[in-house]
């Protein structure tokens, strides 16, 4: 049989760190990157006798995430213990939620590979605490545990197995990430592991029941996830085609070799012995509370998209790109508001900022400058102070060393030449040096004008006002 005869079923479990100031069960700070074991207390170190207390912000953020993903919010929820031994898990149990998660039965909408709308179901969203971090051989041999991350709040978002391809998985994850960023419950910094996914994949022949699934844990790059899914689909089909059976394994994806490796087989799976956490009381939420959280939600991407089309007359394509990220969308709106030229701001983001981000392998949340710098850059172009060409260099410089564009221009001596006398002088020089082009132009070859303007720009290192050059060349020929 051919690959086309198979279908893949993909389910994703996303762990997102919530951006609360303090941990889920104590008042330690959640800041990333502190010196090891400086953000700890008896509770998150699981000292004997210490008890957890639930951070209400965590519940609020999880409810926000639930509402933004069309979930039903459970008014009667609770915490459960998930028991297992591991050095980074100080209590030897994680406090999670088992049979009564905070949010259930949601969905988010994506486009499938053919561009059709598709709903991906969300089974549940629950709250739990993160574990500490093992440092292997980092501090002079042996393994040491840093408990700063222990107790940082997480939400786990479990999708239905509605995803059919790596492309859909990527779109789902990007959409989910963007929603969490919009509602400001997680900064979703994948490089810091604050947005990571467990990827479940199975394949089956069309018309037959689902196959056995494998799971790859803690994946934190879209690219790896896409590669892993494609690899797994192919690997599993090969196994079946060769008469073998897929085993229910936990896998580890290796980015270098582009392969998955078995970490644990089903036989060795932990029995987590879930039971209700007796140290915490049940979570009861009133309808009024849920309504208030709902009211506090900011404008979501769908609504922004409509507004960009109607208010700012952006193209569907541009609007879609902008709303795909809260950071781009906010940058667009803030800069547009300051300079008034939304269209131009949109163009700069989509053509140049995205290109630079791509080149630098950065994410939108890593744009180092403020919206007002971008607004001022657009202003400087509109006023004719600098050319678009110079503006590109200014933008590059804003990434390198973020400061006001005017400052950059002054420092670099990049102010546009718009003095009529000066321009005239340049035009004359170029005309004298290129008689052939003048002749060509007069013979009706319009391209010659472009060449002459180009020469003038070259001579002025791009500082001459291009509109004025154009005008003056025509007048003088």
């Amino acid at each position: 049989m051919a690959k086309e005869d198979y279908e893949a079923v993909i389910g994703l479990e996303v762990h997102a760190e919530l951006s609360t100031k303090t941990k889920i069960f104590c008042s330690c700070k959640t800041t990333y990157g502190g010196a090891p074991n400086t953000q700890v207390c008896p509770v998150c170190m699981a000292m004997p006798g210490a008890l957890p207390t639930l951070n209400e912000k965590v519940v609020e953020y999880a409810v926000k995430a639930g509402l933004a993903t069309n979930c039903t919010i459970s008014q009667d929820s609770k915490n459960d213990r998930k028991n297992y031994f591991y050095p980074d898990t100080p209590r030897a149990y994680q406090i999670s939620q088992y049979d009564k998660p905070l949010c259930e039965h949601g969905y988010i909408e994506i486009e499938d590979d053919d561009g059709n709308k598709k709903k991906i179901g969300i089974t549940r969203i629950h709250i739990e605490d993160d574990a500490g971090k093992l440092n292997h051989d980092e501090f002079g041999g042996g393994t040491l545990v840093d408990f700063n991350r222990a107790g940082v709040p997480l939400i786990e978002i479990v999708s239905e197995p509605d995803i059919a391809t790596a492309g859909e998985a990527e779109k789902y994850l990007k959409k989910l990430k963007s929603i969490l960023e919009y509602i400001e419950v997680s900064d979703c910094k994948m490089q810091e592991g604050s947005f990571r996914a467990d990827v479940n994949v199975s394949v089956h022949k069309k018309g037959e029941p689902f196959g056995t699934r494998t799971e790859s844990k803690n994946m934190n790059s879209f690219r790896s996830i896409v590669r892993e899914i494609d690899y797994e689909i192919e690997r599993q089909i090969d196994i079946i085609e060769n008469g073998g059976t897929v085993t229910q394994d936990t896998l580890r994806w290796d980015d270098v070799s582009g392969k998955t490796f078995v970490m644990r087989t089903k036989e060795n799976a932990d029995d987590y012995r879930y039971f209700p956490e007796p140290d915490l009381v049940a979570i009861k939420l009133s309808t009024e509370y849920i309504e208030n959280v709902k009211k506090s939600l900011p404008e979501l991407p769908e609504s922004r998209y409509e507004r960009y089309l109607n208010e700012y007359k952006l193209s569907e394509k541009d609007a879609k790109i902008l709303v795909s990220s809260k950071y781009l969308s906010n940058l667009f709106e803030e800069a547009g508001k300051i300079c008034g030229n939304y269209k131009s701001v949109s163009n700069w983001i989509i053509s140049d900022i995205l290109r630079i981000l791509n080149e630098k392998e950065m994410e939108a949340n890593q744009i180092p400058f403020e919206a007002k710098y971008l607004a001022n850059l657009v202003n400087l172009i509109d006023k004719g102070t600098i050319s678009s060409k110079i503006a590109k260099d200014v933008l590059e410089e804003m990434f390198e060393n973020p400061r006001e564009p005017e400052e950059i221009i002054k420092e670099k001596g990049w102010i546009q030449i718009s003095d009529e006398g000066e321009i005239k002088k340049i035009v004359q020089e170029i005309l004298e040096a290129n008689p052939q082009s003048v002749a060509d132009y007069k013979a009706g070859k319009d391209r010659a004008l472009g060449f002459l303007v180009g020469q003038a720009m070259k001579a002025t290192k791009g500082k001459a006002n291009p509109q004025m050059l154009n005008k003056m060349f025509i007048e003088n020929m």
């Binding site: 008896p42 031994f85 209590r91």
Partner: protein
């Protein structure tokens, strides 16, 4: 006057009248401990030098006219599963033999704020698992009434220390009877408050949904006093409840007229020592004489309580004790080649047999495939047991029953037979399962001269009702005037 014979309220009276000083009181107790502790073995750690220094400082403040509260300079013993910052807190386990608590339990903070002086940390069954204190990894505490007998457990060190006048009062913890049963066996008063009345923050957990810190005292008034000091909502314990500031001394009315007392017949049947039963019926008669209404009723829970209790307690314990993994604190094995070995060997070496037995049992009942048959069923029975109590409390104010089916048994008599020891819990565990308050007070001695305890159980947060009933009986019966633990006092002759 023998200072160490006095109750706390008597000490307070004498401090107020300047008949005694703080330094005299502390000195008397330190001397008594230095003299008698070797016969009783009630402490894992004592802080006598520190106590003497602290007493001096407090006395100076008093002399300078500084107001430092009614309890300043009163000594106390604290069970060794309650964290006191900077002190060894061992749970009587090799696992925590050298563990110095880096923080204080909320109750310890409260005592500290009153300038109460901690004389030491008292012995217990390892991780509070036991009914005889024989499960301590360090020593066997003796019953001051008969040094060949157990003091009960798991708060056996606290109970024996109070009974032997080594401390005027003590803190304990009660998960299935661990305050009331040793209080009963040592002839003192032991109160387990309603679940949620006293903060558990800093109490090293055995079974979180059953554990409760409580008091062991010489008389009921002292219990009311100490409860007043430690009760209250704590932000650090979500399961603690806010009942306002109650002074539990105010409820001691010495009057039980019209009080409705129920005797659950199931707990007076087979397995109850005849002499204990007789003493309890005598006590019931005394209540009648004092104007209470006493009736026998049926509370049909007796055949379920032990199974329910041990499934829930051990399940929670198996999880609570997971943190003792040799990574951050506690015992770590000397030789290991991987992480699995650190876990296995550290825990195998650090825990005693009974603790291991309960961890294994608890792990089993939570395992997939067995959860529904055991843990879930036990939760259903827990609701059933609570409902049975609720039914009784619709009609009655108090349930009167034995604290322990027997008086103190011999050291070693049951230690080889866990089932025998579990049966010793039959009268106490249901109170924890239902989260109710219970008090044990002495109501006589048997033919061997060993104290018999009577248990009074109230509805949730009805501590005032049981304290008043206990107080009224105590005023009438005058146990402390009639009986004294002879063994510990006779032992003086041997020295």
């Amino acid at each position: 006057m023998n200072i160490t014979d006095l109750t706390v309220h008597e000490l307070q009276e004498k401090l107020k009248n300047k008949e005694l000083t703080v330094t005299e009181i502390t000195e008397a107790y330190c001397n008594r401990i230095e003299e008698k502790e070797k016969d009783i073995d009630s402490f894992n750690t004592t802080y006598l030098d520190e106590a003497r220094n602290q007493a001096k400082e407090i006395q100076e403040k008093i002399n300078n006219g500084e107001i430092i509260g009614d309890y300043a300079g009163i000594p106390i013993g604290i069970k060794d599963n309650i964290c006191v910052k900077g002190t060894r807190t061992t749970c009587s386990s090799k696992m925590l033999e050298n563990f110095i608590a880096p923080y204080s339990a909320t109750v310890a903070e409260k005592l500290n704020a009153e300038n109460i002086i901690t004389l030491g940390k008292t012995n217990m069954d390892e991780f509070a698992m036991g009914t005889s204190t024989e499960n301590s990894a360090f020593k066997i505490t003796k019953n001051p009434w008969d040094l060949t007998r157990v003091p009960g457990g798991s708060s056996g060190g606290s109970a024996a220390a109070v009974a032997a006048n080594l401390v005027p009062w003590a803190l304990g913890s009660d998960t299935g009877g661990s305050i009331r049963q040793p209080a009963s066996l040592c002839g003192i008063v032991g109160l387990k408050p309603t679940y949620g009345l006293v903060s558990r923050y800093g109490l090293i957990a055995y079974a979180s949904s059953l554990d409760q810190i409580g008091v062991l005292t010489k008389d009921v008034r002292d219990s009311a006093k100490l409860l007043t000091l430690i009760a209250g909502k704590d932000e650090k314990d979500s399961t603690s409840e806010d009942k306002g500031n109650i002074n539990y001394e105010d409820c001691l009315k010495n009057d039980v007229k019209g009080l409705k007392i129920a005797l659950p017949k199931e707990f007076f049947g087979e397995g109850l020592d005849k002499e204990v039963k007789d003493k309890l019926y005598e006590a019931a008669e005394i209540y009648k004489k004092l104007g209470a209404e006493v009736e026998e009723i049926s509370v049909d829970i007796e055949k379920y309580v032990l199974a329910t209790y041990y499934i829930i307690a051990d399940a929670e314990a198996s999880s609570n004790l997971g943190r003792f993994d040799g990574i951050r604190y506690g015992h770590r094995t000397n030789e290991y080649s991987n992480i699995e070995e650190i876990f296995k060997k550290s825990r195998s070496e650090g825990f005693g047999d009974e603790v291991k037995r309960r961890i294994i049992f608890g792990t089993y009942v939570l395992s997939s495939g067995y959860y529904d048959a055991y843990y879930k069923k036990a939760q259903k029975l827990r609701t059933y047991i609570s409902n049975e109590f609720n039914k009784a409390f619709e009609k009655y104010d108090i349930i009167l029953m034995p604290t322990s089916p027997t008086t103190a048994f011999k050291i070693g008599e049951k230690s080889g037979d866990p089932m025998q020891l579990y049966l010793a819990d039959i009268d106490t565990v249901s109170v924890n399962v239902a989260g109710l308050p219970g008090i044990s007070i002495p109501c006589g001695v048997d033919s061997k001269g060993l104290p018999v305890g009577m248990q009074l159980i109230g509805n949730k947060f009805q501590e005032e009702t049981i304290l008043n009933a206990a107080y009224t009986f105590e005023q009438e019966y005058k146990f402390r005037e009639k009986y004294k633990p002879q063994a510990i006092n006779k032992s003086k002759i041997l020295i």
